[in-house]
């Protein structure tokens, strides 16, 4: 448990560091091209790696940290989920909250990644003009059984190029789905209460094996 956390902390630190350094060369990449590239890259990596399909946590975390996190604006996600409470939080609280929320999203995403099998992703045409700084990239995941899964992304353009700040799965935006819980938890126990709750959940998820892949 402890080595895993250390590894994770190291990986997270690397990701944060590399995010601030590497992102520059692709700053001019169009938002839909960016999402397409990340998505293809991640799916190929999962399909090529038996360990990941088997639920190897370290490898999955590594994948999320190196290929996805550099393109995610975790602070913006957290800020939006916290809503009006964000401004009443101290900078340290904001930072801690962002860190815990990002970790939870990484765990969740890692769980989803290990279930990838024969899915293909299909992107829909963009509806934005080149001058936009806030766009939605729409795609769907075609699964072998059942109707396709909607998977849309919201991106905004900053100094380091485009970054994802919200994801829509099956018609529901992730940030908005967390808004109620963030709001009620902060109202009841303050920002520190929410940080504590997120940290507890993360510790719980860290000690639990990833969902075993379906046969």
């Amino acid at each position: 448990m402890k080595p895993v956390m250390q590894l994770f902390a190291a990986a997270a630190a690397t990701a944060v560091f590399s995010a601030s350094v590497i992102a520059a060369p692709v700053a001019n990449e169009a938002p839909d091209a960016l999402v397409k590239r990340i998505s293809a890259d991640v799916i190929d990596s999962v399909k090529a790696d038996k360990d990941i399909q088997a639920g190897n946590r370290a490898k999955i975390m590594d994948l999320v940290n190196s290929k996805i996190l550099p393109y995610v604006d975790a602070q913006k996600m957290t800020q939006q989920a916290a809503g009006r409470h964000w401004r009443s939080a101290t900078p340290e609280q904001q930072q801690k909250l962002t860190q815990e929320f990002r970790t939870l999203l990484v765990y969740t995403y890692a769980g989803a990644l290990s279930t990838i099998k024969n899915e293909t992703v299909e992107f829909k045409p963009m509806r934005s003009s080149p001058s936009d700084t806030d766009v939605e990239v729409r795609s769907q995941v075609n699964v072998s059984r059942g109707e396709p899964i909607t998977l849309n992304y919201r991106l905004s353009k900053g100094d380091q190029g485009w970054k994802i700040y919200d994801v829509n799965v099956l018609g529901a935006w992730l940030v908005q789905t967390y808004t109620s819980t963030f709001n009620s938890e902060i109202s009841k126990n303050g920002v520190d209460g929410l940080i504590k709750r997120l940290a507890e959940r993360n510790a719980q998820l860290a000690s639990k094996p990833l969902a075993a892949p379906a046969k």
Binding site: H85, T177, S180, N183
Partner: protein, 261 residues
């Protein structure tokens, strides 16, 4: 005299208690969920049934039944729902989608051997899942408060009102004899739950409060279905979120409904 006063007081108390029980202690005060106390109680009940009966059965079904058989079951009931989906598309004025769904039903019921094979999808005819709740939504009926139904799960007042029509539009309901109908209905539920196993495992990890997560996710999803995925940004922000407030107003609204070619 005194006696009657006590009685009427008692009655008032009982009425107040009933109202309280129904509305619960809605401390968070989500505007779309005035019945949160009641809904949470039903959620706990549903969850207990799921954990003890439904989820274990569905997990066994997924692991034991061969993949092709599961696909067949899924296709068979999916095909029956295409017929009702087709009617709802026509009711919503979506003639092309309605035609496609009817075509799917006709093709899969015949060449797809009673719907066991979904050859229409392979022929490039996409499936649309439309129900009467979505039709009402399209007609402008607001969703009303969130409602957690016993065994049936998350819903809204509008979608619950639409349920009798959806039940009546379900072809399997008219299947004779009764025991075949009941067994079929059971298999259908287990198969449905099996397809949701990955999603529900994910929900357990991602949610701090599963009830709230499910509620807010469901309300957004239903609205997205009513708009067929093209929810106007403002309308989407109104759904489920009472505290999105100023955070969302920082986002530059975009004309998502304008098609640029």
């Amino acid at each position: 005299m005194k006696h009657t006063v006590t009685l009427s007081r008692l009655r008032a108390c009982a009425a107040a208690a009933a109202v309280l029980a129904l509305s619960g202690c809605a401390t968070t005060g989500n505007q779309q969920d005035p019945l949160e106390g009641y809904n949470r109680a039903v959620f706990s009940f549903n969850d207990a049934v799921d954990r003890t009966v439904l989820k274990p059965t569905a997990t066994a079904y997924k692991n034991v039944v061969p993949g092709f058989a599961q696909t067949g079951v899924n296709n068979f009931f999916g095909n029956l729902s295409d017929a009702w989906s087709s009617i709802n598309n026509f009711l919503q004025g979506k003639v092309e989608d309605g035609g496609t769904d009817f075509g799917r039903f006709a093709l899969n019921s015949t060449f797809g051997i009673f719907g066991l094979l979904d050859i229409a999808s392979e022929a490039g005819m996409p499936k649309h899942n439309e129900d009467f709740g979505q039709t009402l939504g399209k007609w402008g009926v607001p969703s009303g408060p969130f409602l957690m139904l016993p065994l049936l799960g998350p819903s809204t007042v509008r979608d619950t009102a639409a349920l009798p029509a959806d039940f009546a539009g379900d072809i399997w309901k008219y299947k004779d004899p009764t025991h075949v109908r009941n067994i079929g209905a059971g298999v259908r539920i287990i198969d449905k739950r099996a397809t949701l196993l990955d999603a529900s495992n994910l929900l357990e990890e991602a949610a701090l409060d599963r009830y709230e997560f499910l509620r807010d996710g469901y309300l957004q999803r239903r609205q997205s279905q009513v708009y067929d995925g093209d929810v106007p940004r403002q309308a989407n922000d109104d759904a489920g979120a009472d505290a999105a407030g100023d955070a969302n107003s920082q986002v530059v609204p975009q004309p998502v409904s304008v098609e640029k070619k």
